[in-house]
């Protein structure tokens, strides 16, 4: 039987551990990647695995089951910290894609333009991996190593995503050439914690402007203690050493370079405004 549908993690790991089978989530990346070819001979459907489902509040933060769909994430009752992640979820393909596509699938597919990655990076997400040999936990920033490349080893499953608890509010902006169903030219996620009108902590990640989505640690450090009024000057001078945009069918590199400055400023501003609104 080429499509296995385990309902427990142990069963899924046993199937994946035999080798040869490919993991299947919502299929929204796997099937397009076939182009018009025939499906793989053996698939393990992870969407029915109980341990991979649901979102829970834990002592240190939140746990998102790997097979959580973007639609399920959007329906979840989450604090403003997750506003950026939810905004990103709304930008994943279309409603059809959000209903099927999973968070783990988006991360394991490791597209440089994956909508979910910048928002999760800005939340300091970690991923939980499991295999027959045991489990491990890695920062998302380390897990994705390049375009379509991760540290996932054969037989391993991305079981969950951990988000450490924090104050602040998230925002996400996607730049594309049309409204729906669009692959990013660039995107920015920001999580900002404000104290007394000034940035207490900024976490910013940019997607589609480097082989993998990147956090901007130097900028984040430079923003500490600053007010909105100082944003434009800081961004004007920031060299964005973390980014290396390319030119492709969607836009030339120079445009990405230019646009990302505006997007970062707006994402920070949006997050700060939303934070103010939530506090009010």
């Amino acid at each position: 039987m080429p499509l296995h549908r385990p309902d427990t993690l142990d069963a899924a790991l046993a199937l994946m551990g035999r080798g040869g089978a490919q993991a299947l989530g919502g299929g929204t990346d796997l099937y397009p990647a076939l182009r018009d070819g025939v499906p793989p001979a053996e698939l393990v459907d992870l969407t029915g695995v109980a341990e991979l489902r649901g979102m829970t509040r834990e002592a240190e933060g939140w746990r998102i089951g790997g097979a959580t769909t973007w639609s399920a994430l959007l329906r979840a009752d989450l604090p403003p910290l997750f506003d950026g992640l939810k905004a990103a979820a709304r930008e994943v393909g279309s409603v059809q894609i959000q209903n099927a596509g999973t968070v783990a699938g988006n991360l394991c597919n490791a597209s440089p333009a994956a909508d979910g990655v910048p928002a999760l990076l800005a939340l300091d997400a970690e991923v939980g991996l499991a295999s027959a040999a045991g489990t491990r936990r890695l920062p998302l920033a380390e897990f994705i190593t390049g375009p379509r490349a991760t540290l996932l080893v054969p037989g391993e499953i991305l079981t969950e995503i951990y988000i450490p608890g924090a104050k602040g509010c998230g925002a996400f902006l996607k730049l594309g050439a049309r409204k729906y169903l669009v692959i990013s030219i660039a995107m920015v996620a920001a999580v900002i914690e404000v104290e007394a009108g000034r940035i207490a902590r900024a976490r910013i990640a940019v997607g589609a402007c480097a082989p993998v989505a990147r956090r901007l640690p130097d900028l984040e450090a430079g923003l500490r203690g600053k007010s909105v009024a100082e944003l434009s000057e800081i961004l004007r001078d920031y060299p964005f050493p973390e980014l290396a945009p390319i030119g492709d069918v969607r836009a030339p590199a120079a445009y990405r370079d230019d646009a990302v400055r505006t997007l970062v400023a707006r994402a920070i501003t949006t997050a700060m405004e939303q934070e103010a609104a939530h506090v009010a």
Binding site: L30, I97, N99, A100, Y180, L181, I183, Y255
Partner: protein, 903 residues
């Protein structure tokens, strides 16, 4: 698993019925639903989640069936359009609302739209334009421009009855029922279950030599039924659409001229093709040219076409050089546009079976008789030995005029004497079908000190790709139209179609005119600015009016309605001017702008005969039959031709039963192209209706004023208060029959392009209101106001649908669309507008009548999109000062133009 189905089977609930079907559980759900469960209402447009046509509900949630493993629905509930339309109360309301609003045109996206809308209505979400767009944003439509779909969903609970009536009444599409119930059958839907599948082997290089390995050994080893190459063509290995330019081979011989060109085809069961090893062909990549630049010195693509020039076009009137020299103000500029893909959601599909010494081909086509004759040449058969059975067409826009998939299935079915089928993949469709010609245009326009145009010069180079297709039409049409609908006493326009190693450029809504309008209408804005004149007023001052000669010297004494179109826009222009000024005074990082542009288009072939024939009959039992062969590709000819026929006969449309299209039973109504069906086939239908009316009245011996009624008791004629029943004579199949043809009166053009190329011109002018984010270069369209002189709107509802759909394609051309050979061969790299990219569109109908059109109607299809792109570009320039010369105006280009201060 508690709901295990037998090994190799999947059990689920499909539209309320529990079914168990044999299926590979990793196969795409869409394939299993269509091919095994028979749910042909699930459409496949891309196999990548890019178009949403295959949307179904799984446990109530809309998903793309093409992205789901069939086994994942084991034990779950699947609902599709046909099931919903039959049983679900929300869907049944949507069916009525979609009909009321004409929200389905071709109908190929309708399943995806309706299924998505049902999920929205079930969710109880408050309906707003935004919530509808969010819910339907994952489904692409290329026909409607989305506005009527949004309106239909918002009005789902409305109860207004459908309109009834003849010419002039906004009646619902007569062929709308099956499109909304899920019963409509498109190209792939009619493939016989026992058909073998054909797969085409195509060149991976823009230009390549090739050598086959051992084909017969490969065929046997892979269990294939047949391998087709050029050697298997019984007739001629070439086809085309313009006499003298039939230059495209079915299978390349010796060398391929573009990436995706066919060299061979394999025929077998789907299983054999899926398991097939790599096809034995060795490629030798050769240097290729992809743009006309340098084409004159590149390797010649066709022996008889020196310097790779396919053909040239020329129109000259007066003395353009002298007029421009003497002009008070002259503007000039260079503008370019790229390849545009038609982007219909239904890929090319065909199936064939051999019936004795005849071959029958079912296919989605815009030109059944041209297909028939082209296939006859390829097959070495008489045209009468080929039967074309057009299916419903899931969008055409020009590209489904040419032969594509048909020859492969015809050859396979002919040689094997078994049915054969093929459906192009999305990549195959985009990489091999014809495109809108890329253009590189230089234009110069001069005006006197009073702002009157004194002369214009135009030189356009068009990349016509590897084969001629409709390139000669573009080369001929552009010089006639490049003046725009304006008095231009001194004029010289040249065009050239240049061969390159790309997919052939052919027919696409407007045949080159949308491209030349991009140059001319932007220069008009620059000239108005130079003159210090209001841009609308400048156009009004120069537009053609009745009695003015066009650039070919043709004079229309009536029906030149562009002045009325521009006048109709005036209040909207004034309102928008004030709104823009107020907004811009208080905003720094976003600026609004408005643009206006006009356009014109001659209906039918250029100075060439292109008749249509319509046949009607009354059976001995008194049933009225209309043989309607003008293919309805969504634009509405089934409805409009019937309305015209019924009006001329003097009966309600409900009395008419349509037959066809089918080349065995419907006479040739020509191609669905060049905005000719309403005008030309409409005239044939009018003549046919009138002829049949005369016969019936004669039989009843009543006056011309008599009323005809088709009733269960037979045909009743009421005249002056008396009613008589017509005694029908015996006859088979018809007791009464009428066949009438119409061919537009045109004259040949002289060497300077002077003459009457078209009997009818339609004109239009549009305003675009938009907002530009200056820091990002992104554009948000706010409104389009479209004024169109349609002569007489046979069906105002369908007219609006054409306009909105054309505008949406113009938006795509202006802002996002460009086919890059080898690079944008899918619907996520090649972007067409989504439901969120088309703003409200206000249609202003101008009915100036026409000397030739049926009831004064002109054609409309192409006109809708001609003004849109330049109106958008003019609005961008108005908002930002940045003038975009090279389309599409993507955010990066707009931002760069803003930064460099380009004007």
């Amino acid at each position: 698993m508690s709901l295990d189905a037998p090994q190799g089977h999947i059990g689920f609930t499909l539209n309320g019925a529990e079914i168990t079907v044999p299926a590979d559980s990793t196969a795409r759900l869409s394939e299993v639903l269509r091919e095994v469960a028979g749910a042909k209402d699930v459409k496949i447009g891309c196999n990548a989640g890019d178009c949403g046509a295959c949307t179904v509900l799984v446990d109530g949630a809309p998903v793309c069936a093409c992205l789901m493993a069939a086994g994942q629905v084991q034990g779950h509930i699947v609902e599709t359009q046909s099931g919903l339309a039959a049983e679900d109360p929300h869907a049944r309301r949507l069916v009525r609302s979609f009909q009321r609003h004409q929200a389905a045109q071709c109908g190929i996206c309708t399943p995806g739209m309706m299924v998505s809308a049902v999920a929205l209505l079930r969710s109880g979400t408050a309906l707003s334009e935004e919530s509808v767009a969010d819910a339907l944003g994952g489904v692409l439509c290329r026909c409607t421009g989305y506005r009527k779909i949004v309106a239909a969903v918002l009005d789902a609970s409305g109860t207004e009855p459908l309109t009834e009536g003849g010419v002039g009444a906004p009646i619902a599409r007569l062929d709308g029922g099956p499109k909304l119930s899920g019963e409509e059958r498109f190209g792939d839907d009619v493939a016989p279950a026992d058909a073998l599948t054909v797969r085409v082997i195509r060149s991976p290089y823009h230009r390549a030599g090739f050598r086959f390995g051992e084909l017969e050994a490969f065929r046997e080893a892979n269990g294939l039924d047949l391998i087709l190459t050029a050697a298997d063509i019984p007739g001629e290995n070439r086809f085309g659409v313009i006499p003298g330019f039939e230059d495209q081979p079915v299978f390349a011989e010796g060398e391929t001229r573009f990436k995706g060109e066919a060299v061979a085809a394999v025929v077998g069961t789907q299983e054999a093709l899926d398991a097939m090893a790599a096809f034995p062909v060795v490629w030798e990549e050769r240097p290729a040219i992809l743009t006309p630049e340098g084409a004159e010195s590149a390797a010649q693509l066709h022996q008889s076409r020196a310097e790779n020039v396919m053909c040239r076009g020329y129109v000259a009137r007066g003395d353009a050089d002298a007029a421009l020299k003497g002009a008070a103000h002259v503007v000039s500029g260079r503008f370019s546009t790229g390849f545009i893909e038609h982007g219909y959601i239904e890929p090319e599909a065909a199936s064939a079976h051999r019936v004795g010494d005849r071959i029958e081909i079912s296919c989605c086509t815009q030109a059944p008789y041209m297909n028939r004759d082209g296939l006859a040449t390829i097959m070495g058969l008489a045209p009468e030995a080929v039967r074309i059975l057009p299916t419903a067409v899931g969008g055409g826009f020009g590209s489904k005029l040419d032969l594509t998939a048909q020859p492969y299935v015809a050859l396979a079915a002919w040689h094997l004497n078994r049915p054969a089928r093929i459906t192009y993949t999305r990549t195959e469709s985009i990489s091999t079908s014809t495109k809108r010609h890329p253009s590189d245009m230089v234009m110069e326009i001069g005006a006197d000190a009073d702002g009157r145009i004194v002369g214009a010069r135009f030189d356009g180079v068009f990349n016509t790709g590897a084969y001629a297709s409709w390139g000669p039409t573009v080369a001929n049409r552009v010089p006639i139209h490049a003046s725009g609908p304006y008095r231009t006493p001194n004029y010289q326009a040249k065009s050239a179609g240049i061969h390159t190693n790309t997919s052939p450029a052919g027919a696409f809504r407007g045949f080159g005119v949308p491209q030349s309008a991009v140059a001319q209408e932007q220069l008009y804005d620059m000239l108005a600015e130079r003159l210090g004149l209001d841009r609308l007023e400048f156009r009004r001052r120069n537009c053609l009016t009745n009695g003015d000669p066009t650039v070919t010297g043709q004079v229309f004494e009536t029906g030149m309605g562009i002045d009325a179109c521009l006048d109709a826009l005036k209040p909207h222009w004034d309102r928008a001017q004030a709104e823009v000024a107020a907004f811009n005074a208080s905003h720094e990082d976003r600026k609004r702008g408005i643009g206006v542009a006009a356009g014109w288009y001659g209906c039918g072939n250029t100075s060439m005969s292109n008749p249509s024939t319509i046949r009607a009959g009354v059976t001995p039992k008194g049933t009225l039959m209309l043989h309607q062969g003008a293919v309805d590709i969504g634009q509405g000819s089934n409805t409009v031709i019937t309305q015209i026929f019924a009006e001329a006969l003097g009966v309600p449309v409900s009395a008419v039963t349509r037959v066809g299209p089918d080349t065995d039973i419907t006479p040739d109504a020509g191609k669905t192209s060049a905005s000719r069906q309403t005008y030309i086939s409409g005239n044939a239908a009018r003549l046919c209706g009138a002829a049949l009316r005369a016969q019936i009245l004669r039989l009843g011996n009543v006056s011309d004023a008599a009323e005809i009624a088709f009733t269960e008791e037979g045909i009743l004629l009421t005249d002056g208060g008396t009613t008589v029943r017509v005694e029908l004579p015996p006859g088979a199949p018809y007791a009464l029959e009428a066949i009438e043809s119409y061919d537009p009166p045109t004259t040949p053009l002289d060497p300077n392009g002077q003459g009457d190329p078209y009997a009818v011109f339609g004109t239009a002018a549009q305003i675009c209101e938009l907002e530009v984010d200056l820091a990002l270069g992104t554009v948000k369209l706010r409104r389009i106001v479209a004024a169109h002189d349609v002569g007489k709107a046979i069906n105002p509802l369908l007219v609006e649908g054409q306009i909105e759909g054309g505008v949406a394609q113009g938006i795509g051309m202006a802002l996002m669309e460009e086919f890059l050979p080898g690079r944008t061969e899918n619907l996520h790299d090649y972007l067409i507008p989504t439901i969120g990219d088309v703003p409200p569109i206000d249609t202003l109908l101008v009915e100036s009548g026409d000397a030739h059109g049926p009831y004064g109607a002109k054609g409309l299809g192409e006109h809708c999109l001609i003004p849109t792109a330049p109106a958008v570009l003019n609005a961008i320039a108005h908002a930002t000062g940045a003038r975009i010369h090279h389309l599409p105006a993507t955010p990066d280009k707009i931002r760069a133009a803003i930064l460099s201060g380009t004007t």
